[in-house]
Amino acid sequence: MTDAPNPNPPPLSDGTAPADIRANPPQRALQLHRELARVWANDRGFWGQVTAVSHTTLGLRFMATAFVFFAIGGILSMLIRAQLATPQGAFLDTELYNQIFTMHGSIMMFLFAIPMLEGLGIWLLPKLLGTRDMAFPRLTALGYWCYLFGGLIMLTALLFGVAPRDGWFMYTPLSDATHSPGINADVWLLGVTFVEISAIAAAVEITVTILRQRAPGMKLTEMPLFAWYMLGTSAMMLVGFPPLIAGSVLLEVERAFDWPFFDVARGGDPLLWQHLFWLFGHPEVYIIFLPAAGAMSTIIPVMCRTPILGYGAIVAAILGLVFLSFGLWVHHMFTVGIPHMALAFFSAASVLVAVPTAVQVFAWIGTMWKGRPELHLPMLHILGFFLTFVMGGLTGVMLAIVPFNWQAHDTAFVTAHLHYVLIGGFVFPMMAAATYWMPLITGKARVNGLGEAAFWVILLGFHGTFFIMHLTGLLGMPRRIDVYPDNPEWMSLNLTSSIFGFVLTIGFAMFALDLILQASLGKRARRDPWRAPTLDWAMPVPSPNYNFASLPLVRHQGGPARDVIQALARGIGALAGAPRGRREVLVTSAGAARPCHVAVLPGNTALPLVLAGSIAVFVLLMLASLYAIAAVALLPVAVLVWIWVRGMAPLGDLHAVTIAPGTTVPVHHRATRPTLAQSGVHALLVADGALFASLLFGLAFLSVVTQGPPPPPALVQNSSVALGLAGIAAALALGAGAARLLTRGRAGRWASWAGLVCNLVALVVLAWLVTQLDDPRAHARDALRAAMAGYVGLHVVVAGAMAAFTADQFRRGEISPHTGVGAIPAWASWQAFTAITAIITAAVFVVQAGVA
């Protein structure tokens, strides 16, 4: 397998190399830098921004764009506060006010918080883990463009006065076609779903990067806490976003095609939307909090000049949070009329989630006790976090108590609570993170003074705005009202909130100005200015596009970063330089981080932009209700995806690479362990499975909980339908078997063709079966069954395309002992998944329709 001589020591039997790698001989740092910079640099000029796939460029761009959306959302909040400053607030009319508060919430959640944390993860993780880029650079770029285009669609709608207006959680029936005519709700459903492509993309590549690209020897159990936090976050995103995507697609289909998923009169249920939304919506809170907490766990030990207290306990707390956060979504629904004992269960779960949070907070304070805290600017923001977040957490516990929730729910008390949690638990830590990592981003040191002033103005403005808002809520002021002429007792409170709200805005403007001043006027920063122990600082400032001239070995990890900058820059670590003129990273095993193979990453390309643009065309056509043309517009998307995957063909030098004396590993095409792409497919299938589970949940909910009209007698009662279902399942199982044979090397190219035929047969039978099903517009359960059939159909189409792709790879000679296995493992995973979902779907149909 290896072409290099003398593999010494020999590779381990599981296809990895030992983690204790010998050092490379030192080289001249400048020469290495030039070699790497040439290979890893973005293209020049504006075009370079279009084609960039670098995690540094895109991570920063994610964060900068998110900050712009934060400013826009902030301006909207100022309009809200201006309206509420007086009882009669004749400033905005109700329609516009409704659009503005809906957009404020939607922007802050979907266009600020989530992209910001994705950006931080994308920018920081490779540096922290000791690698050169994220696992899927083109996917990073695709995610960014989807985020930008989706956000622009929503902003454009606001400019034209057709923005969403039903509140950021879009409760149906208020958001259905009857009660919300026009495209406002469609803008939300399609725009947010478009943006969520970037969330799924980020979750997939963050998961894979953390598990497979840590520096050799960086054990999972010893990796920096930030990586643990992001691993928890990405796991939650993979499972938490699909219910939202499922709900949005179903609601959009209801609005567009009158499939009554949520329509009471036809067996649907508006509460199904609430369940799907909050199944996303509550994990979402922790999705936002965990990366911020990760930044805290990184920065506090550095500011206190001591290692973190309770590493293991914090990891356990993260895992506990990830688990618990999926068990408490119902606490957003305490007032919908659920039996008290069920409420008690979710109340207990909601309260329990405070425990892992408390473990972290006290571990941080214990770290401060153990060390000697220094009051640098990041530490100020961390103190702001403590004050604000502790109070927000405590009001959260109050809201988890059912009787109190019945009073406080949907009042300004909740508005106050969620701002304490989100600004305390996310914005303050992000400001700490920004001030902490600015030297690495810009290479500049801070200009003293303004940042501290900004902090105090923000702290004052925030608590002045939101502290008394608790009282406003307890005095009975509901959320989302625009006037309160009969309640002068709320006026002074609201006026105070409004005034301090403007103070808060000024504070954020000062913060932004401080960053701009630092970037433009700051003096050159020293390397590793904080004397940090993590690898993100073991590089020059500002960070070069390739991060590390050589990848850090075990001996370079865990000590002071400044001690290893020189060594890494001189190529003493693994995989020094870019002697083969291509972007190489080291892929390691998930647990012990033993070297598996070298992955060759794609270079600069405009393909992500073009693909995102073609998806945007589809979204816009859907918005314009041109559904037939929209279906056709999926064709270019499919072609571009094919071109995308063709870009992974084995080209160039496929010889094994010697990453250090005595350690030689294959390139990824010829890897014996799963490649990054294969790990990525597995992560994607986790999200896909969650999507399928959401549909199953919906069907079960409608069948068991909803007390609507019973479905009309099912038409599918003849045995030919059962036979058809069995035929689909059998064809897909056969296809999965063919792919499996291929992965084991027990079949030739015929198996690809066989797999393609199996999928085509399944597709034809499915198309016939759909004509036999009941009209999906008749009843919600019929609609959901049709949606499940559509889900399976879509997967069969993709599976067939993947089979065809491998057949094409055989034809091109890209699947051979010399060039590797191509897309076979990815197809096999997908095909097996498709077969399983089809079998489950068939079983559900049989059970529900009573097919003989």
Binding site: A313, I401, D486
Partner: protein, 222 residues
């Protein structure tokens, strides 16, 4: 009406916690139980906040020998579990006290629509007495309200008499409220329901006699 409210409300606004929609100015035992729950949790939350701030302030002294056990298990796990168990138990206890139960309580109906409320109760002769905008209930006893919706989701809330519950199309929700003495109480729709949401108010009149002989001859506010 606005003027009357303004004159009435201006002085009590200074008191801080009263007001026609204040949960902290309960008009019956259900709202009072929840208000006490709030004051208890508020005091506890205040103490914990001060405690954390003191811990933070002390952290700025000399470095100390300290153990993970104390912080992670002592404070993080056991302290928080103890506090949370107490709060949870109090919440369950109050919840069980104020829930609707089958004890023959007077039942009235509230039907929400965009944008207003229809109410109905049984009159003296057993006939249904219907009306818009004003809900009549007996004073001094628990009343169950059956809540339904015509179109979108609304939420029935009379802050001084008890918690809120959503009015959901296709469902009948039951909420228990109680006014200790006769009088007028304000209610509103708490769930955002579109353009007329802010104005979707109603009034509750609690009567000493039930069914009220003359619904319009009502008592003043207590």
């Amino acid at each position: 009406m606005t003027v009357r409210y303004a004159i009435w409300a201006a002085p009590v606004a200074l008191v801080g916690c009263s007001g026609p929609l204040s949960t902290l100015d309960p008009g019956g035992h259900i709202a009072r139980d929840i208000a006490w729950l709030w004051w208890g949790m508020f005091a506890g939350a205040g103490l914990i906040t001060v405690f954390v701030l003191v811990l933070l302030a002390v952290a700025f002294g000399r470095p100390r020998e300290t153990t993970q056990k104390r912080w992670v298990f002592g404070l993080g796990l056991w302290f928080s579990l103890a506090v949370l168990s107490m709060v949870l138990a109090a919440g369950l206890w109050v919840g069980e006290r104020i829930l609707p139960r089958d004890d023959g309580a007077v039942t009235v109906r509230a039907h929400a629509f965009q944008w207003g409320w229809e109410f109905a109760h049984d009159g003296a002769g057993g006939q249904l007495v219907e009306g818009e905008g004003t809900l009549h209930i007996p004073a001094g006893q628990p009343v169950d309200i059956l809540i339904t919706s015509q179109d979108v989701i609304h939420s029935f809330w009379v802050p001084r008499l008890g918690g809120k519950i959503d009015a959901i199309p296709g469902r009948v929700n039951r909420l228990r409220v109680q006014a200790d003495s006769a009088g007028r109480f304000d209610g509103l729709c708490a769930e955002f329901c579109g353009l007329g949401h802010a104005a979707m108010r109603f009034e509750v009149i609690a009567h000493d006699d039930w069914p009220p002989a003359d619904p319009d001859a009502t008592q003043d506010r207590p």
